[in-house]
Symmetry: C2
Subunit: 191 residues, 2 copies
């Protein structure tokens, strides 16, 4: 039996992403976003929603670029802190002991300690309610070499990305493998 919980943002799984940008003064900064996802396969594009009042927002508007550093279990405390403080008031990356690396493909920094990063140019913005959805074209993805499968694909079991539960406000990470996509459902296909 299903219970109604009301009109709430209770999607699962919800990501925990560090949105990296240079601020208006050129200083690397990052904020945490949980509202976003892939938007298109070709060109590869993604969205992340940011409130215009955020310090990071002005920097993205100026430099027309941002990165997504995927927050993972090993960096959970650092990620959580990035989501609680504002770069207006402090150098968050320095305080958390994190290293900003300037992307070689877009004008934005990513966080070196985070294992998987996505580098985007800002394609456009789109207002949805209180948030501005940033639509970025993915220009490159970089992954720690020791967290790849066959040197090609990011290994989710080694990256161990954080997963946020919007209602309970807990972080989890990825667990057991369930099966192969486009394969485990074959038994239902017509002969």
């Amino acid at each position: 039996m299903k219970k109604s919980l009301g009109a709430k943002t209770l999607a699962q799984p919800t990501p925990v992403w560090a949105v990296g940008a240079f601020d208006e003064d050129g200083k690397p900064n990052a904020m945490i976003a949980a509202w976003g996802g892939i938007a298109s396969s070709q060109p590869p594009a993604m969205t992340v929603s940011v409130r215009p009042s955020r310090h990071t927002y002005a920097g993205i508007m100026k430099h027309k670029a941002f990165t997504i550093s995927i927050c993972n279990e090993a960096m959970a405390a650092e990620a959580d802190y990035l989501g609680m403080a504002s770069g207006k008031n402090e150098d968050k990356l320095a305080r958390a002991g994190l290293t900003a690396v300037k992307s070689d493909v877009v004008n934005a920094p990513y966080i070196d300690e985070f294992p998987l990063v996505i580098e985007c140019t800002l394609l456009e913005t789109h207002e949805v309610g209180v948030h501005t959805m940033l639509i970025g074209e993915i220009k490159d993805v970089k992954c720690d070499e020791d967290k790849l499968i066959d040197g090609k694909h990011p290994d989710v079991e080694k990256i161990l990305p954080l997963i946020f539960s919007p209602g309970a406000r807990d972080y989890h990470t990825v667990g057991r493998r369930v099966g192969k996509g486009f394969d485990i459902g074959r038994k239902y296909l017509k002969d």
Copy 2:
């Protein structure tokens, strides 16, 4: 050391969502989408990207509503099948033994066997590359009563949502709890 993987849609965690709609003839149908996320907190809104050629797309355009049934470990084979077949050619829900329930708040069906569902009216569409991003306003969320924490919040450890790895094309589910959001990073906050 990070390795460049190219301009690819390698975000983590990536969801596995059954997008439910009545088709143009009023028959319940569902397709699988991995491209999407929350777009705004107020009004609560989300996006899911669909190719206009999809059978489900025409139904959503006609009825201006869709649902997201969160695919989970227990329903992994059924979800995978929904992503491989088209409702143009067969009654996918019947074939997979799934039950369509008409939402009481929007003109779209959800899948009863999936533990967590989100019911949306279509606010607008937005083209991004080869995909059309559907922006839906969340009108209600419903969860199996036995998968709630304190009767209030969806329990991700009981729902066990699927997580897709776009490169490796594997499904995983949620694993261990890492900590409390807006709490485990407090040690970095200024005194």
